[in-house]
């Protein structure tokens, strides 16, 4: 992921309508003792333990809603009020690095972060200055995940090691792919041996042709959003593109997850504050609180995605030692999992989505989008 940083360092020159008086954003803003947070399903304990701890520590009341299911529709929902300068009803939201976060940035929909109030982030973050948001100007990571392959061991004999296996006619009608154009495109590029972050429109076309042939050959059973977990657990599909944390938490016992030898996609879901937030100071407080390793460990033990706070690993291992029975086993597995605490050399096999500029984005979308839409 560091590879892309230099490449894109110069890319933040021309901005759209955004960036009006970023410097003065925090003037006169104060803590209100409450905030509302829009997040994806599965990112918070059922009993909301992390939120309760935060409320106890800070006295800030959190209204938490699992209202984000995909970046595109979420962006579509918040776009109108943000364009009109009206509140969207949330002070904090979680968006994946990619075209929609990029649009929100360019359109000036995000509040610039006041790093003076994020000391824990400065001290504890293992993931600073990402390519998609240089200097963490607008976002801090919430969790990261890897897109790889999940397969059902009852049906697939022998280990899955390569992306090629998703294209194998032997699995005709038993392969699941993701509908998201970025995820799908990235996988197609990796299948061609192309580094997505350095890919060209010509590579995109070749990758699209490959993916189209896979579809038209009847190999793909369905293009999924997140419902592939259910399909692969039941054996409706035998192998499918999948996100690491889902495979860890939600999938059935027969499901295994691998990062193929060609590489996987690394993505990050980011905390950001809509510019029109009513309680931005409270949102900032929550952001920073989550970067305190003890607080983050509590959440990581539930989410099972890559934590942006490396110090949580030792805490999870310590918790495992202190726990008993099944919980102990689960925590040990978690602390040892390379999918949750990847080593640096493992991270090197992963690549981010390509950051697309304003002219490239429609080309990329037009290349990959129609595939999952059956056109």
């Amino acid at each position: 992921m560091a590879a892309g940083a230099g490449l894109l360092a110069g890319a933040c020159g021309i901005e759209g309508r955004g960036t009006p008086d970023d410097a003065r954003y925090w003037e006169g803003k104060r803590r209100n003792g409450r905030l509302s947070w829009a997040n994806w399903p599965g990112y918070m304990q059922e009993d909301r333990a992390t939120l309760k701890a935060f409320e106890q520590d800070t006295g800030i009341r959190v209204e938490y809603k699992e209202v984000i299911e995909e970046n595109g529709p979420w962006f579509g929902r918040i776009q109108a009020p943000l364009a009109a300068g009206q509140p969207i009803g949330f002070d904090l939201m979680v968006m994946t690095n990619g075209v929609h976060l990029e649009k929100a940035r360019r359109l000036g929909y995000l509040a610039p972060l006041d790093h003076g109030r994020l000391p824990n982030f400065a001290a504890n973050s293992g993931l600073k200055n990402p390519t998609y948001d240089p200097g963490n100007k607008y976002t801090v990571p919430f969790v990261s995940g890897i897109t790889g392959i999940a397969y059902n061991k009852r049906h697939v004999k022998g280990p899955v090691t390569s992306i090629e296996q998703l294209f194998d006619p032997r699995y005709k009608g038993r392969v699941g792919m993701m509908a998201d154009p970025q995820e799908l495109g990235n996988l197609g590029l990796l299948a061609l041996g192309v580094d997505p972050e350095k890919s060209t429109p010509d590579d995109w076309r070749r990758a699209a042709a490959r993916l189209r042939a896979q579809r038209d050959g009847g190999i793909v059973r369905k293009y999924y959003t997140q419902d592939y977990i259910d399909a692969v657990s039941k054996g409706e599909v035998w192998l499918t593109m999948a996100w690491s944390g889902d495979a860890f938490t939600m999938a059935g016992p027969d499901v295994a997850f691998v990062v193929p030898e060609e590489g996987g996609t690394l993505w990050t879901d980011n905390l950001c504050i809509p510019r029109t937030a009513r309680n931005p100071v409270d949102a900032l407080a929550l952001m920073d609180w989550l970067y305190e390793p003890r607080n983050n460990a509590l959440l990581t033990e539930y989410i099972n995605y890559i934590s942006p706070v490396p110090a949580t690993k030792a805490l999870v291992a310590a918790d495992a030692a202190g726990a008993a029975g099944r919980e102990r086993k689960d925590l040990q597995r978690l602390a040892r999992s390379p999918l949750v605490f990847p080593e640096p050399h493992e991270l090197e096999r992963l690549s981010y989505f390509r950051r697309l500029d304003q002219d490239e984005e429609p080309v990329f979308q037009r290349t990959f989008e129609p595939i999952a839409r059956g056109a």
Binding site: P41, E66, E69, A80, D227, I229, M250
Partner: protein
């Protein structure tokens, strides 16, 4: 005989998914994988409102359906009255307009409304959903009331006029009670259309979540059994209300 069998088979086919939904509301399964029968439980009925997001979505649906049914009934009844009783210039166009809102696919209606809202930067939410639901339901109410008005005997009202009753009195004492069954049927229809609506709501809801929207969203990670339980209760309530209203209509 074959006809009876066939009709029952068709009814069976139509009700099969309803039965499946109801059965899985009593399933003692892991809430994330409610697909196989794992034994009977009333747990989900006891924990019907355990998911605040789902409860709020249901309350939103009910509130939207109530408000939009009320507005659509008033507007639709007035329009139906005019269309059924009066001949006036523009009546033909008004009929066509009403017909168009009924015949136009919801997708196009939703897309058109969304186009307007994004053009004017109108934030979407409760109000825009109500506006859309009223727009669709209004035509159905108007048509129902129009049919009822057409079947009325104008002599009754004339008699009232001859007895010296003013227009408001005549409306309140004669017309309203006579068209009331049509208006009630229209109101029920409007309520049902609204609470069930998915496509139009999806286009106009913004960050307001209704029951169908929530259910569709939960499909990604597994529909929790509470949805089955709530769906079953809504079904039972709908059948009950419809049966009662049919009964009272027959009685009147």
């Amino acid at each position: 005989m074959i006809g009876r069998l066939y009709t029952w088979a068709l009814v069976g086919w139509l009700l099969l998914p309803v039965a499946v939904m109801a059965v899985f509301g009593f399933n003692d399964a892991d809430p994330r994988r409610n697909v196989r029968w794992d034994g009977f439980t009333l747990h989900w009925y006891a924990h019907l409102l355990d998911r605040p997001d789902l409860t709020r979505a249901l309350l939103n649906s009910l509130a939207i359906a109530l408000v939009s049914a009320a507005v659509a009934t008033v507007l639709g009844t007035l329009a139906g009255l005019a269309l059924g009783r009066h001949r006036f210039r523009g009546r033909g166009s008004a009929n066509v307009l009403v017909l168009m809102t009924i015949a136009c696919p919801e997708l196009v209606l939703g897309a058109a409304l969304l186009s307007l809202f994004v053009t004017l930067n109108v934030p979407r939410g409760f109000g825009t959903v109500v506006a859309a639901h009223v727009m669709v339901a209004l035509g159905f109410v108007a048509v129902t009331v129009r049919a009822r008005v057409g079947a009325l005997d104008p002599a009754v009202e004339e008699a009232a006029r001859d007895l010296g009753a003013g227009p408001w009195t005549r409306f309140r004492l004669i017309t309203l009670p006579l068209i009331a069954p049509g208006a009630v049927a229209g109101a029920l229809l409007a309520f049902t259309l609204s609470i069930d609506d998915f496509v139009l709501t999806g286009f106009t809801a913004g960050s307001t979540v209704t029951f169908p929207l929530w259910v569709y969203g939960s499909l990604r990670t597994g529909v929790p059994p509470q949805v089955n339980a709530l769906g079953t209760l809504l079904f039972a309530a709908g059948v009950l209300v419809a049966a009662l209203s049919a009964r009272s209509r027959r009685a009147s």
